[in-house]
């Protein structure tokens, strides 16, 4: 206080000048977002990612899909298509509709990958419907990925923090990975003629944001988080006694995509 008083007494005019210019500059900074990136204004969704500049994080991410929660609205598919400009007829993620009638016949469909949502019921089921549910599909991020094994040029690779990614500048477009993937999550992008698939939104995750599909799911059927973080929802789900399964466990690929309440009819 004494310092300020001294300062004011020293040169009252200069002090007023400084305060004024500081106020104006500060106000201007609030009006004009000078260089502030978009994501920094969004709240961090994955704790501890913003400060992490290392090439690979120490985190162990997992994806959990709650089959019992999905309502088949298709929001995730729309978000995905917008995020990546996915060419029509190709799907980085999709939602399947399962219907089981009272004769235990299983009917599955996924028109346009569920992109338009399942607003209309199927009319071609011959018997009364016993049960129905939706199964979202996406990259399984295998611990032992077949696609990485077969890629002849190493364009498909596994990061040290467990993401399977495709380098479109190295991919030769041979399609071997598409043949090798047991889950058919890959396709050949007709525009750049290279292989493409779901990345669990690696670019968003590195910025501390949830994958686009997780972000938009209105019923929280898609969950994403760090298994090393004991407070994370995915950690709790995988630790607690839920009905948890992965797709095609017999393939031995050890997916990091887990399904909560997965039904035996699902392939």
């Amino acid at each position: 206080m004494i310092d300020i008083k001294k300062e004011i007494q020293k040169d009252r005019r200069a002090f007023i000048k400084n305060v004024l210019s500081g106020t104006i500059a500060g106000s201007l900074l609030m009006v004009i977002p000078a260089g502030a990136a978009l994501d920094e204004r969004l709240p961090e969704q994955l704790p501890g990612m913003r400060g992490d500049d290392s090439p690979f994080t120490e985190k162990k991410f997992a994806f959990v899909v709650d089959v019992t929660a999905c309502i088949g609205c298709g929001s995730c598919c729309v978000a995905d298509k917008n995020e990546y400009n996915v060419p029509d007829g190709n799907y980085r993620t999709w939602v399947e509709r399962y219907i089981i009638d009272d004769h235990d016949e299983v009917f599955v469909d996924s028109p346009n990958g569920g992109l338009d949502g399942y607003s209309k019921p199927r009319t071609d089921i011959p018997n009364p419907v016993r049960d129905t549910f939706f199964v979202p599909k996406l990259c399984n991020m295998c611990e032992k990925p077949s696609c990485v094994q077969v890629c002849p040029v190493g364009a498909t690779y596994k990061t040290e923090d467990g993401f399977i990614l495709v380098d479109k500048d190295r991919c030769v477009g041979c399609g071997y990975c598409i043949q090798a993937c047991p889950y058919s999550v890959r396709f050949l992008n007709p525009v750049n003629r290279t292989a493409e698939k779901c990345t669990w939104c690696y670019h968003r995750v590195r910025e501390g944001l949830l994958p686009a599909c997780v972000n938009v799911c209105p019923v929280h059927a898609r969950k994403f988080g760090d298994l090393n973080d004991k407070t994370s929802e995915v950690y709790k789900i995988l630790r607690e006694p839920h009905v948890i399964s992965v797709l095609k466990p017999g393939m031995g690929n050890q997916p990091a995509l887990h399904y909560l309440g997965l039904r035996r009819e699902v392939v």
Partner: protein, 397 residues
């Protein structure tokens, strides 16, 4: 159907295909690729039967089959390059290969085999080339100079060394031909996600069908070229080729059927998809065409032709027909494996369809061009290196 039967509920199939499985990625080009490499490997085996195993009756076609192999080997990469989404990056497979990828080995195996085949041709034809160089003028003289690798020494001592080198090259050429084609089988056999492909028998079946197609290809071209050029056909040679063709085809056909029978007998959860495939989309191309028409009929024809000594004219009439049928059998087998395997969706609940178009990047027209190209190349090679000369530069036939 009982609710308790876990398998049954999963099996109950409405036709559902994973959205990304609608499109068949490996189409006609990938059908042709194993077909062409198979012809190469098989033709090389024919040559080796003479050069290494001293089956003297095959002398007339021993040199021709090497040139036949070369012509097809030159074109073996064409369908692959046409198929790649980014062919300009093809060399990355050799420069920055992924060691765990079966496909990454192709460049090396192909190149090594190309070198061995080229060297063998150069050494086998060297005395002939030296003789031709003396008569040639202009460009051909320079070309023969290059082909004789700068040596016109045809002394008995030099030829003896040549023969040692030829025997060595042919000897390492056999395992290499087997690796080349067994490996092509492994490209498919190593894909665990595809129940039609994922069998350890796949390399063996590919290898045997390669031998079969190579021998059949040699019989057809040998007889046709001789007929059209008015030269006399060596009946003994054709008879021997037919016997080898029958021998290899017995093994080939039996293993193809054993593979299918194993799937059927073990009846793992994959069998219901395979069963649906064989009785549905593949019924015509597999059961009717590949097995019924082009396996069973040639099998008995070959048996009769091998066991009964027919008149020469009958033998020479049926030999190209049965060989052509075998060529069709192998082509159908490639189709049924490559395309058939992709028709099943990994949803295990349905199959997609595939109809090749005439004029598209990987269409029928391009496929025909790629199959005609080796024949044209063979004709050009024939203008440079005579098919039917023996070591002394005398017409063999």
């Amino acid at each position: 159907m009982s609710v308790a039967a876990h398998g049954d509920a999963a099996v109950a199939a409405a036709n559902f295909i994973f959205p990304n499985d609608l499109h068949v990625h490996w189409s006609l080009m990938i059908v042709l690729y194993p077909y062409i490499t198979g012809l190469v490997a098989g033709a090389f085996i024919v040559s080796s039967l003479y050069h290494v195993f001293h089956i003297k009756a095959l002398k007339p076609v021993a040199r021709f089959s090497l040139l036949f192999a070369l012509a097809f080997l030159i074109c073996a990469t064409w369908p692959l390059l046409n198929h790649l989404g980014r062919p300009e990056r093809a060399l990355s497979m050799m420069l920055t290969p992924n060691p765990t990828s079966a496909m990454a080995g192709f460049g090396y195996i192909y190149s090594a085999y190309f070198i061995v085949l080229l060297l063998e041709i150069i050494f086998i034809f060297r005395p002939t080339v030296v003789a031709l160089r003396k008569k040639a003028t202009g460009f051909m003289k320079i070309l023969y100079g290059v082909l004789s690798i700068g040596s016109d020494n045809v002394s008995p001592k030099a030829l003896k060394l040549d023969h040692k080198i030829i025997a060595f090259l042919a000897a390492i050429g056999i395992p290499m031909a087997c690796v080349l084609h067994g490996y092509v089988g492994f490209i498919f056999g190593g894909i665990k996600a595809n129940p039609l492909w994922a069998t350890p028998l796949m390399p063996l079946i590919f290898l045997l069908s390669a031998c079969v197609s190579g021998i059949a290809g040699i019989i057809v071209t040998y007889i046709l070229i001789m007929k059209f050029s008015g030269k006399e056909i060596d009946v003994e040679c054709v008879q021997t080729l037919i016997k080898f063709l029958w021998g290899f085809f017995i093994l080939d056909f039996v293993f193809e059927m054993l593979e299918l029978f194993s799937h059927f007998y073990m009846a793992t959860h994959h069998w219901h998809t395979l069963e649906a495939l064989y009785s549905g989309p593949l019924f015509n191309t597999f059961w009717v065409a590949q097995v019924g028409i082009f396996s069973v009929i040639p099998f008995f024809l070959l048996m009769f032709m091998s066991l009964i000594r027919f008149k020469d004219s009958i033998l020479l009439f049926f030999a190209p027909i049965v060989s052509f049928m075998i060529l069709m059998q192998v082509l159908l087998m490639r189709w049924n494996v490559v395309v058939g395997g992709q028709l099943m969706s990994k949803s295990e609940r349905g199959a997609t369809t595939f109809h090749p178009m005439w004029f598209e990047k990987e269409g029928i027209f391009v496929a025909i061009v790629i199959m005609v190209a080796p024949v044209v190349i063979l004709w050009i090679i024939g203008k440079i290196l005579p098919f039917w000369m023996d070591d002394e530069g005398v017409e063999a036939a």
